[in-house]
Amino acid sequence: MSGTKKFPQNGITDGQIHMIRIGKQVLSLILFLNVLCMGSDVIAHPHIFIVQRLNLVFDDKGLAGFWVEWNFDEMFSSMIATDYDKNQNSTLEPAEVAVVKEKAFSHIAGNDYFIFVKIDGQPFKVKWIKDFNAVLKNGRLSYHFFVPCHVKAGELFKQIVIAAYDPSYYTAIFFAQNRPALVENGDQFVIESSIKEDKSTSIYFDMLNPWALFLKFRLKS
């Protein structure tokens, strides 16, 4: 068969073998990339775990704000208790609560207290909170605070999205499975709600969508 292109026994040309070889190299490099990405030095992964409950408070006009209850894991709780329960009586007295607020809560103010609200799609910045309290009960620490967020109800639905997350992902915040959200004084309004991932928001290098409470309310006709 002189003058014709030489085919190996399996029918693959040299060019194809070369391509396969390059393909293998590419696959190897992809393996490297995956391993490297997995091991990228983003020194933050959850070290603190919070189970959260929200209590939505309505007044005559509409939403007045919401209470946030954060229940910490026992290990972080013991860290705070060791340092700030000065008399070691397993409860936090008002003076101790004030220290906890200053030393182990106020730092997150710069991160909107980890509470990210959207009203009809527009971000609402949580600049301040009120009535902070820290409770130590059976070795478990919980924080309670109120986020003022006035949204007047109308004939049409207002949509509020409340997500709680630590953008650095040092803390993982989960909604409680049991009673994750409650409504107070909401009799005058038609209220619909659901808890799901907020797919319009991505955190932590676009790797996660935070869980959020989606709330819709309007005046009863």
Binding site: M38, A109, G139, S202, L208, N209
Partner: protein, 303 residues
């Protein structure tokens, strides 16, 4: 050759983009720094794997706390076996997430030609030092100095980070300079042998691992503190070590994957001896650059 070079260039660019210096310290107890947080409002592919890791860590953390309480309340060692299993699993999963020096370990391994055993030792040492420094930190601060953990943890973490990242930068620069020297030598016509006499080992895995793993692991710190709060110091140390052993397994798996990946890639071009040497030198140069860059970037982030 051109393809390989192009791919390696792409790899470098990709890594440079991917590795961003973000050091999240405990947000509740640390002073806020500049906001490096990556929040976007465009839809992105969620990472169910990462969510799953977080959820499992939460469950294991809770289980560990429950079992430790049970051990304390019943004053028995019965829950110990399960507790050790849980601590180990917690360590494995904890290290699967980002961080724990895996990026440095990978870059360093890529820059060397370690035997598998040495690579495995290196991976184990990184995790063990990371965990042991957490145990030592709590013992020294709480028992010997009797100081508060929350403030001190931040200070100690920062100091060890500065030391660690400075040494890592030096290590990376050393690898890079050595590699550049080889290129120059090669360009001058002194060809490197490809008969196996051209050997590169993982020098001082213990010391390199110490440099990478010296920053106290916050996970171990929390386990130790919890144990201390129940006056179970011995159990805390045991669990801290078991947790570190779990992390060691994960980090070692990653290191073995890298060693194997590198060996496969080089094996593909092994028949073309000079190409294999060039490729390996290229990997060494890029890895050295990566180690140095990572060290510098992270150093800049903590200073």
């Amino acid at each position: 050759m051109r393809t390989t070079f192009l791919l390696l260039c792409l790899l470098t660019v990709y890594i440079a983009v991917m590795l961003q210096p973000v050091f999240a310290q405990n947000p509740f107890i640390s002073e806020p720094k500049s906001k490096p947080h990556n929040i976007t409002t465009h839809p992105a592919a969620k990472n169910p794997f990462l969510s799953m890791i977080a959820l499992w860590q939460h469950r294991l953390n809770q289980k560990m706390a429950d079992l430790m309480r049970e051990a304390k309340a019943t004053n028995s060692m019965r829950p110990l076996a399960l507790l050790l299993v849980v601590a180990f699993a917690y360590g494995v999963i904890h290290a699967v997430g980002p961080g724990h020096g895996k990026g440095f370990a990978i870059s360093y391994i890529l820059s060397q030609r370690p035997r598998l055993l040495r690579g495995v030792l290196f991976g184990n040492f990184v995790a063990l030092f990371h965990g042991l420094s957490g145990i030592m930190f709590v013992l020294v601060i709480r028992i010997i100095l009797q100081k508060s953990i929350t403030g001190t943890l931040e200070d100690v973490t920062r100091i060890t980070q500065i030391i660690s990242f400075s040494l890592i930068t030096c290590l990376g620069l050393g690898i890079l300079i050595k590699s550049i020297y080889k290129w120059i030598k090669s360009a001058k016509g002194t060809h490197l042998a490809c008969d196996g006499s051209h050997k590169r080992h993982l020098y001082g895995p213990l010391l390199s691992a110490l440099v990478v793993g010296m920053i106290p692991c916050p996970g171990v710190v929390m386990i130790m503190l919890f144990a201390l709060s129940m006056e179970l110091v011995g159990l805390g140390i045991l669990l801290g070590i078991t947790f570190s052993a779990g992390m060691a397994l994960t980090i070692t798996c990653v290191v073995v994957m890298v060693i194997s990946g590198k060996a496969i890639s080089l094996g593909m071009v092994a028949r073309r001896g000079s190409l294999a040497i060039t490729l390996e030198n290229l990997i060494e140069t890029i890895a050295g650059l990566m180690v140095a860059s990572l060290g510098l970037l992270f150093l800049a982030a903590v200073i």
